[in-house]
Symmetry: C2
Subunit: 309 residues, 2 copies
DNA sequence: TGGGGACATAAGCTGGGCTTATGGGGAGTG
DNA sequence: CACTCCCCATAAGCCCAGCTTATGTCCCCA
């Protein structure tokens, strides 16, 4: 009926939200897969059976694929349904990590465990730890404050935080620490960039003289880079999140310097290529820290033990 | 104003969709981070500036956190905004993989590249490859058919598919192949399960005599396990997607046997524990396959080269 | 043959998100 | 100093997706 839909072509970029079912629908699909029935899934999510039925059906319409085989004694996934469900699982998993992190940002007062962490750790490692902690101790309210090493130290020493994580080269005075992981900053470019075809390591001087896509001044990553290059890093553009830096690098805007934790997936899929560099030390330790003498106990100890994964 | 909000407590499980902004909002946040302005982000997503403004604001209300600093010359992320944006990036990334896969399931006709793949590969590796392919060749329409090895072979030999991927122990007759990766099935249990504390490898006989959480009969994983155990695997329960099996194992229902590709994240976070097993061969190759003599060319060759990542 | 479990359909409500229209606050320019 | 441009915010109104309640159909089993 009506007029022909104007399909905006949408070549690759462009809003994905219209083509992917929303999180509620994906969650519902997972529940159906697990419980084997639309009605049971609906009960679990606190909606009615017709709501679940209609939601699954509209998801099938949107994707253009049959997802479940309905029968008078339950519903089972089709083959493609099983596939879609597994893909959905990864979206929902990422959303759970998001939720765990966001909840920690919100709950300021009366938290049982107050964590202060530097950016790289808060971005890439903490959400997973929070999920694991929640699995073991569902009632532990955690609050999270992200900042640079100095801010983390200050919170710990003033008693406003119970456990900290820093990624610098040095441990702030007054704190004990334990190394929990190692990190390297790496130079990455889009596959089309000339540096992607270099066979020889890039000299530090050339890195220092080339404009780079960077986080803004004050970020831990930026500080390590500036120190390593002798305060010389030249910004091509300064962006306000690691994700934005990655997006710019992938789009070919120029070389970027990022934690290898940040670009694992991009490297695996060849969306970014690592450029070897010589003559500059870009390694750093990731450490848990706490006020000297106050060994972590209770929930803090619990969290610390998760970081040995 | 109004009454006190009834907070449903919602301890850990329970629908996440109400606490996490929807994909459109997350995408908008990423655009704001990248472009530095609400209006520019709105234009990129094809909505109006007031819509973007209101959406970001309601996201801030939902999360209880300020995300962007607005000024008369643009908007920049706050510190916590940068953190949230990075977390959002991973959700959106998973959604893009979902979309790439779903699109391949849908476009049946006139696809330039028709792929047939077995489940494990379609679940865990293909979406990434499709994203990479789309980045390089945005106009290559790909169709995907998932099935067992026999079905993959049949499609290839009948000319209904250009390139296949199988995960069995043997290569179907009439096909050439190249090993692209190795996979191992592993036994996993929740950390609380007695097997999690075993020091000695589990004898194959004990594995065979213990009821397990399994994919249903006919799945490639199940076949490999049945063969390895001599047709003896006893199901505790049979579920219709890998995700459902993982969820059951994590919840402590019993031991599960899964590809290590499927449980990398769960192992890292200690949500599942690997149980060593002795006396049974659970390794298998992942292979690209094509009709004997018809070396992949064009888009198929392109895709094949991505699999060497 | 009656009951129960599971899914489908229909009708009506509500709210979130979009649009258009309008206003205010810096910054650069003659 | 006014003019203009580029931000962002607010207000009013529309529309559709998704929910609920009520009811129908199918199949299995006692």
């Amino acid at each position: 009926m009506g007029s022909v839909e104007e399909q905006p072509a949408d070549g690759g970029t462009g809003s994905i939200a219209h083509r992917v079912p929303d999180l509620g629908a994906l969650e519902l699909l997972l529940a159906v897969a697990r419980l084997g029935s639309l009605g049971a899934a609906a009960r679990e999510l606190g909606i009615t059976q017709p709501a679940a039925s209609s939601r699954i059906r509209s998801m099938e319409r949107q994707l253009g694929v049959a997802l479940v085989d309905r029968s008078p004694r339950g519903s089972r996934l089709t083959d493609t349904g099983a596939l879609v469900t597994d893909w959905a699982g990864r979206v929902v998993e990422a959303a759970r990590a998001f939720d765990a992190g966001a909840q920690a940002l919100r709950v300021r007062r009366d938290s049982r465990l107050r964590v202060a962490a530097s950016m790289t750790i808060a971005e890439y490692l903490l959400p997973g730890w929070l999920l694991a902690l929640r699995a073991g101790r569902p009632d532990t309210a955690v609050s999270l404050l992200a900042g640079n090493s100095a801010a983390v130290a200050e919170r710990l020493l003033s008693g406003e935080a119970d456990l900290g994580f820093v990624e610098g080269l040095t441990v702030p005075p007054g704190l004990d620490s334990a190394v929990i992981a190692h990190d390297h900053l790496i130079v990455v470019v889009a596959p089309a960039h000339p540096w992607a075809r270099r066979r020889r390591p890039l000299p530090a001087a050339e890195l220092a003289s080339t404009p780079l896509i960077l986080r803004e001044k004050g970020s831990g990553t930026r500080q390590v880079l500036d120190t390593a290059l002798g305060g010389l890093a030249r910004p091509l553009i300064e962006l306000s999140s690691t994700t934005a830096v990655k997006a710019a690098a992938v789009s070919g805007a120029g070389p970027a310097v990022l934690s290898e934790l940040a670009v694992g997936e991009e490297l695996g899929l060849r969306r970014l290529v690592k450029v070897p560099v010589e003559g500059v030390a870009l390694a750093r330790d990731l450490r848990a820290v706490w006020p000297t003498g106050h060994r972590p106990a209770g929930p803090a100890r619990e969290l610390l033990s998760l970081t040995r994964g």
